[in-house]
């Protein structure tokens, strides 16, 4: 019921809202909880396990019962939701409903730095902010409520803060954030906070020199039989509803307390004419042992065997300082006998706790943890209302021999609800102590972990979703690919053309056509995404020799060479081509995905091991557009574009590098191949990339030059047995496993060499790269499929390998695959099996090369 006057609500602004389909009315300044109580809505939800009716229990963030959903936002607390016109809320039984549709809410992030961050806008927080502001510090003061003032807002005459706050805002370097809940305090004073805004939420990430926690205290309930009925409320919450919202949650009240904080409640209730049926004070040896009630909630209490009628039971079991953030930041707690609660002890430097959060409470309290059950039945003595955990559950856990609060928590789920047991934790520790004969302080609390309150994934994501999820990198030719309706695949952050369908061609048909063009005529591919590292300095050759498995001493200027990199453990890490451009000047290409890691790897050796080497490495990935012209007719295209250049295979042999120019565009040509065909890679400064591509298309037009994507590239290279790092390899594969001993120098040392003769890496039964030809020529084995030696689909069956690459081949007119197979080289010619769930495929093991074994085409 709403009182005729008083409170901090705006009676001039009536708001309509609905709850569970009922249309109701409240005022601006209400929370959903205060508006519901004003409308005498007592039952808000049912409990998650036992389905018991539950009502509003608190007036704050600690609320364990009143879970609601508003639109797409699930698991909100009615006590934390500000009333808005046309708000539509529904009660939730312990779990919310995910809404897939976009609700239009906006989520954003702000980063901030300050000397002093004050969490909590009560009197202590405001005082801390004022004193810091006066010293000229940058100050951020945040508070979860819609207005600053903290506990004082629950007083009949709140301490006036308007003038103090106004003086605070006069400092240019002070920022006041209301409706902002700090939910995490991390190392070196990084605080995360969620700000509720009219159209969504904002995530604040604040780095502060000093953090002042003025987070107050939460009132603790008392534990007795049927202590969960609607109408049983925290005493302080009743005062808040009375004084701040002018709402009385009942007409006939019983107060059950173990401390003197309820004195003011009694006075306030009397002042508005609420009848106090009984004041039960545990300090006088009196307790409420049980309650009676119906579907709408409490109707009476049992005291000393006598029934007392009431529709409101105000309980207070003392106060728990809100130590969550302090504890998250690594602060230690200790049990305080006087307060009967845990207070901050040793803390991290630069985190200060003040006011009630520090245990600064004037209170006379006597511990009264558990009212004994009259009949020995503890199944309705609730400790954790949100998780429906009772004293009986605790006794069961302890009966199994558990003693640690952490074990009891996991067994009973106490404290694991979305309220994180804010009203349950200390009672839990105390009752475990009572039942096991340990002091409360010895039992301790469970670990406080972020977040202090539930936060949504949307808040964490902010704007980093959809197109803004991750940076997108595109090549100079991207617009051409888009115009030709290429399908793209993501490779790291790059968008690479996957295939270029003609009309309504399927991927399969397109790839076969693209492969055929590269094998029979001429194809062209945008390979600009290759990582490119410029390596210069007098010791560049020494550096390259130490890192790559093969030697580069004989690589003369104007030539290039394929190279392989291993980690110190001998496992293949990346590969690419090293070009010798000039004296003391090399350029190494890397895989598209490995570019950053390879550069970091180079820097690590230069900076931490070989500090005497005079070498500089620079990423030039984005400096160059790189276009591969591939196929038996590629020479014709090159000859047309570069009439001055001698292109016959003697003048411009495999692995040679030449400089050229076509229509004013400078081009560096490399005769390298990733398909096994005669091929040229044309590099030009990125700016010219699209122009060069178009010239290639024009020159190749009479030859029906065919653009192809990464899928055709994968097929072509696999036919030729060329590996892809990360596809054939997974960090456990050595060059020898790949059959690439030819590239491992026997003469010089290189990083990882010693590892190649470790007992494990020299085992004969390691998985080795092989080819697979399925007996059914149309069977395309799934990549990742396991291999077995016997045709069994049922376990136990030894898995001896897996398929790494698998394609349909235009050139072979059948399917084929690459695989890593245990002792694979000894099994060539044998049959292996591929269990595929409902059937078993079979394949013949082959050498991992299917095309032009003699390299006639490559070198032609």
């Amino acid at each position: 019921m709403r009182l005729a006057s008083g409170g901090r609500i705006d009676r001039g602004r009536r708001l309509n809202f609905s709850f569970d389909g009922r249309t109701l009315e409240g005022y601006a300044g209400d929370t959903l909880a205060s508006a519901l109580l004003a409308n005498d809505v007592r039952v808000v939800t049912r409990s998650i396990t036992h389905g018991r009716p539950r009502g509003i229990f608190s007036a704050g963030i600690e609320e364990p019962n009143a879970l609601i959903q508003v639109g797409a936002e699930p698991m909100l607390r009615a006590t934390q939701v500000e009333l808005l016109d046309n708000l539509r809320a529904t009660g939730l039984t312990g779990r919310g409903r995910a809404v897939v549709a976009d609700d239009g809410a906006r989520f954003d992030k702000r980063y901030a730095h300050c000397e002093v961050l004050v969490v909590g806008g009560g009197s202590h927080g405001i005082a801390a902010a004022v004193s810091a502001a006066r010293s000229g510090d940058r100050v951020i003061l945040m508070d979860e409520q819609n207005e600053m003032g903290g506990r004082s807002l629950a007083e009949r005459s709140p301490t006036p803060t308007a003038s103090i706050l106004a003086s605070l805002t006069s400092f240019a370097e002070v920022q006041l954030l209301s409706r902002t809940t700090a939910f995490g305090l991390y190392d070196h004073n990084l605080a995360l906070a969620a700000e509720r805004r009219p159209d969504g939420q904002r995530l604040w990430q604040v780095r502060a020199k000093r953090v002042v926690l003025a987070t107050g205290a939460h009132e603790r309930p008392l534990v007795f039989a049927n202590n969960d009925r609607p109408g049983v409320m925290l005493a302080g919450a009743v005062r808040t509803y009375l004084n701040r919202y002018a709402v009385i949650p009942g007409r006939r009240a019983v107060v059950f307390t173990n401390n003197d904080s309820t004195d003011r409640l009694v006075a306030d209730l009397r002042a508005v004419g609420i009848e106090i049926a009984a004041l039960i004070d545990a300090r006088d040896g009196k307790v409420v042992s049980d309650t009676e009630g119906d579907e709408r909630g409490i109707t009476g209490v049992i005291v000393g065997g006598q029934r007392i009628d009431c529709d409101l039971l105000c309980v207070s079991g003392g106060f728990n300082p809100t130590v969550h953030l302090f504890s998250q930041a690594g602060g230690r707690l200790r049990y305080d006998q006087r307060l009967t609660g845990f207070i901050p002890d040793d803390g991290p430097p630069d985190v200060e706790v003040v006011g009630r959060a520090a245990g600064d409470l004037e209170i006379s309290v006597e511990p009264s943890w558990l009212v004994p059950a009259v009949n020995g039945d503890y199944s309705n003595h609730f400790i954790d209302l949100e998780r429906d955990v009772t004293v009986a559950d605790l006794r069961r856990a302890l009966g199994t021999g558990m003693r640690s609060v952490e074990h009891v928590k996991r067994y009973t789920t106490i404290g694991t609800g979305s309220d994180q047991g804010k009203t349950a934790g200390v009672n839990e520790a105390a009752i475990i102590g009572m039942l096991t004969g340990q002091p409360v302080g010895g039992v301790g609390t469970t670990t406080y972990r972020p977040p202090y309150v539930p936060v949504s994934f949307s808040l964490m994501a902010g704007r980093n979703r959809g197109d803004l999820f991750d940076p997108v990198r595109v090549t100079a030719i991207h617009s051409w690919h888009v115009a030709r309706a290429a399908h793209f695949e993501n490779v790291g952050q790059w968008k690479r053309p996957w295939y270029f369908p003609r009309g309504d061609e399927t991927i399969e048909a397109a790839v076969l056509r693209e492969c055929r063009a590269a094998r029979e005529g001429v194809g062209v591919m945008d390979v600009s995404t290759l990582g490119k590292i410029d390596i210069q300095g007098p010791d560049a050759l020494t550096f390259i020799n130490r890192l790559y498995t093969n030697a580069f001493d004989t690589l003369v200027v104007g030539m290039c060479r394929y190279g392989l990199l291993c980690r110190a453990d001998g496992m293949v890490f990346d590969d690419g081509v090293v070009m010798h451009l000039a004296e003391n000047h090399y350029l190494a290409t890397t895989t598209t995905g490995g570019a950053a890691a390879v550069l970091d790897w180079f820097e690590e050796w230069l900076q931490t091991e070989w500090t005497d080497l005079r070498v500089r490495c620079t990423s030039v990935t984005d400096h160059w557009a790189a276009l591969a012209v591939v196929g038996p007719r590629s020479r014709d295209v090159i000859a047309r574009l570069f009439p001055e250049l001698a292109v016959d295979t003697h003048a411009f042999s495999f692995l040679a590098v030449r400089e050229g120019e076509t229509r004013g565009i400078p081009v560096r040509l490399h005769r390298i191949t990733f398909s096994g065909e005669l091929a040229y890679e044309l590099w030009t400064p990125n700016w010219y990339g699209l122009a060069l591509w178009e010239l290639i298309m024009e020159a190749g037009k009479p030859l029906e030059i065919t653009p192809y994507g990464t899928e055709a590239m994968h097929v072509l290279r696999a036919e030729k047995g060329y590996i892809i790092v990360g596809q054939e390899t997974d960090g456990t594969v050595t060059p020898h496993d790949l059959g690439m001993s030819w590239i491992v120098s026997k003469k010089k040392d290189f990083v990882g060499k010693r590892s190649l003769r470790r007992p494990d890496t020299s085992r004969a039964d390691r998985r080795q790269l092989v080819g697979l030809l399925p007996l059914d020529h149309g069977e395309r084995l799934p990549e990742g499929a396991q291999l077995t030696l016997e045709p069994r689909n049922e376990p136990p069956v030894e898995m001896v390998g897996h398929v790494t690459s698998s394609y349909r081949s235009a050139a072979l007119e059948r399917t084929f695959a690459l695989a890593m197979l245990k002792a694979g080289r000894d099994r060539i010619g044998q049959t292996v099996y591929v269990p595929l769930g409902d059937r078993i495929a079979a394949a013949t093991v082959t050498e991992p090369i299917f095309w032009d074994r003699e390299n006639v085409r490559r070198d032609s």
Binding site: D187, G330, D569, D600, T608, S755, P759
Partner: protein
Amino acid sequence: MLVPCPWCGEREEGEFKYGGAAGIAYPALPEAASDTEWARYLFHRPNPKGPFKERWYHSAGCRRWFTVTRDTVTHRINP
């Protein structure tokens, strides 16, 4: 955490890559190492509770490697 880069000052941890224990040199003569010694170099790393000398790489900044001492309990870092 805030990691003190000797070149750029204190920066957010996210700008760095972690490099593990400091002071583990690549053996001067790998071929002279026994299998046990080599395995120790590759796989054995200290993991103390308390002060720990470790390497960081300012990958999203100046791209320099450096060493600090971090207390693994309190995360207090001394350059």
